[in-house]
């Protein structure tokens, strides 16, 4: 990383890179964006195929409670990763476990879990607020490129490597298990295993994305690039690739733009607004194209 930061700094001094690149945190943020973008875009296609958009939102919102629990248990307020990881993972696994054992419609169930997690988080934050500056939580909830450290990048790189590897070996099976669980089971695939694996991947990527996109907005980045790519592609392969490309571009542009324009916008909000602008343009293009 030091070499990369030095190289970017020299580039900025020589004038062939923007001045923003002379800041170490900016290089860290861009590396994080390059790691996270393709992964969120790729996973997002499965979120859409499996109709789990609301679920990924709920996991993101559960982060609020996870952060509060972590801080209360004595973790550093700027990076309560153990509380965040444990609570989000438990939240996702219990939600999925209950889903398989109840007749309550899935969206209703997610709504109930989401409400409970948010209410719990709001209640706990009252206690947390006495311990720390409450504005620090904004960084975790909505992302802040200023706070990305080498350790964060290492965690992110390891999480991404793990998920990408898992996705390469299981993508087809996760998709088949969602389209036709019966065919998947007759073919000998353990559909429950693939369902839980996917839930764990979503949770892991949510936690890994907390610093750059923010826990609350990561669900949107799982969804919007995929929703845009779905409008433009004709096969599953191109759907995944375009979704990954759009998510990466959103992450890069959304990270760079506030710095270049000196706008006081959290990185998460900026990334989501860029991703949403791709979606809006594509939707308008499709509507106009259909009517003309």
């Amino acid at each position: 990383m030091d070499f990369l930061r030095l190289w970017a700094s020299q580039g900025a001094q020589a004038g062939w890179l923007s001045e923003s690149f002379s800041y170490a945190f900016m290089v860290n943020a861009l590396v994080a964006a390059l790691l996270l973008g393709p992964l969120l875009g790729g996973l997002g296609t499965l979120v859409i195929a499996k109709r789990l958009a609301f679920f990924s939102e709920a996991v993101g919102h559960a982060a609020l409670t996870g952060i509060a629990i972590g801080v209360l248990l004595g973790e550093p307020p700027e990076n309560p990763i153990i509380g965040l990881f444990c609570f989000c993972m438990l939240f996702a696994l219990i939600l999925h476990f209950v889903r398989n054992r109840t007749a309550v419609p899935y969206d209703t169930l997610v709504g109930v879990f989401l409400a409970v997690a948010l209410a719990g988080g709001a209640a706990l934050l009252m206690y947390v607020a006495r311990k720390i500056n409450i504005h620090m939580l904004e960084n975790v909830l909505f992302g802040s490129i200023l706070t990305i450290t080498d350790f964060d990048l290492l965690v992110l790189a390891l999480s991404c490597a793990l998920i990408v590897l898992g996705l390469i070996f299981t993508f087809n099976r996760i998709l088949l298990a969602s389209i036709s669980p019966d065919i998947a089971r007759v073919r000998g695939h353990n559909t429950h295993f693939y369902d839980y694996l996917f839930v764990m991947m979503i949770t892991l990527v949510t936690i890994a994305a907390v610093k750059i996109v923010g826990a609350v907005l990561v669900g949107a980045l799982l969804l919007i690039p995929g929703a845009t790519a779905r409008l433009l592609t004709k096969s599953m392969g191109s759907f995944v690739l375009l979704s990954s490309l759009l998510a990466t571009l959103s992450c890069l542009i959304g990270t760079l733009l506030p710095m270049e324009l000196q706008l006081p916008i959290p990185s998460g909000a900026s990334i989501i607004l860029v991703a949403a602008s791709f979606f809006v343009v594509t939707t308008i293009f499709r509507i106009v194209g259909r009517n003309s």
Binding site: A49, D182, M236
Partner: protein, 251 residues
């Protein structure tokens, strides 16, 4: 050679609702067996029990001639969201291997997929989205999926649902071909004239096993109304009809 399947006192109940009661029969190897019966009679539940997709009481054994062979399955329907860019080819490929759809398509896999689509007359639609196809066309693709591994046992749940005449012809010629290759086929079907053309073993199910035998014996005009009435037969009637069958077989 396909397997034989023995069912011994198979029952299936959900809470207080018993779908199947005391089904005992033998599905011989290398033949086409058609499960018929009125709606809600438990035909699909019986297939799902054979496949191990639903818990049941009793015993179902699949006897393979040597090592365990391949099973092909066509469900009654699968839900394909129209806006999901999953093509016919994608669907076949994701059934075929782990090789992820977002990598460059493996040439051998693609050739095999197209070959199976040709067998059901769907190769020219390989690049259409699954959600764009009619119900009958989707059934043909699901059938192509079941053929991928050259299965020894084919289990088909109303495979001709919504199919046009051309689709039905493809289906019937493939069934004839598979019976010639001594594969075992278990199919739920509701079209009596189509079943007569197949001349298969017919098993009429309505909660219990009502009757089994060659299509020409079971599907006689005078019996049809009684066999396919929605009235659920009591278990005692099963024993009665079966004992009659056993006697007639012995005679």
């Amino acid at each position: 050679m396909g397997p034989s399947i023995s069912l011994n006192n198979v029952s299936l109940c959900y809470e207080n609702n018993c779908i199947l009661t005391g089904i005992s029969t033998q599905l011989e190897a290398g033949q086409c067996h058609v499960i018929m019966g009125p709606n809600g009679g438990g035909k699909t539940s019986l297939l799902r029990s054979i496949l191990g997709l639903t818990p049941f009481n009793g015993e179902i054994n699949i006897h393979w001639s040597s090592s365990k062979g391949k099973v092909g399955y066509v469900p009654q329907k699968a839900t394909f969201e129209p806006s999901l860019p999953l093509t016919v080819l994608d669907f076949i490929l994701l059934n075929q291997s782990r090789y992820p759809l977002f990598f460059k398509t493996n040439k051998k896999h693609k050739e095999n997929a197209i070959e199976q689509l040709k067998r059901v007359g769907m190769a020219d639609r390989a690049l259409l989205r699954m959600g764009q196809l009619s119900g009958g066309e989707q059934q043909r693709v699901l059938f192509a999926q079941a053929l991928l591994d050259d299965p020894d046992l084919l289990i088909l749940d109303e495979p001709t649902n919504g199919m046009d005449d051309q689709g039905v012809r493809y289906f019937e010629s493939l069934i004839t071909e598979f019976v010639g290759e001594k594969k075992t086929i278990v199919v739920v079907h509701h079209d009596i004239s189509a079943v007569r053309r197949l001349d298969a073993q017919v098993h009429v199910v309505n909660g219990i096993l009502i009757e089994s035998g060659r299509a020409s014996e079971v599907l006689k005009a005078e019996k049809i109304e009684q066999l396919f009435s929605h009235y659920r037969h009591a278990p005692t009637q099963q024993t009665k009809i079966h004992s009659v069958n056993r006697k007639s077989e012995a005679a």
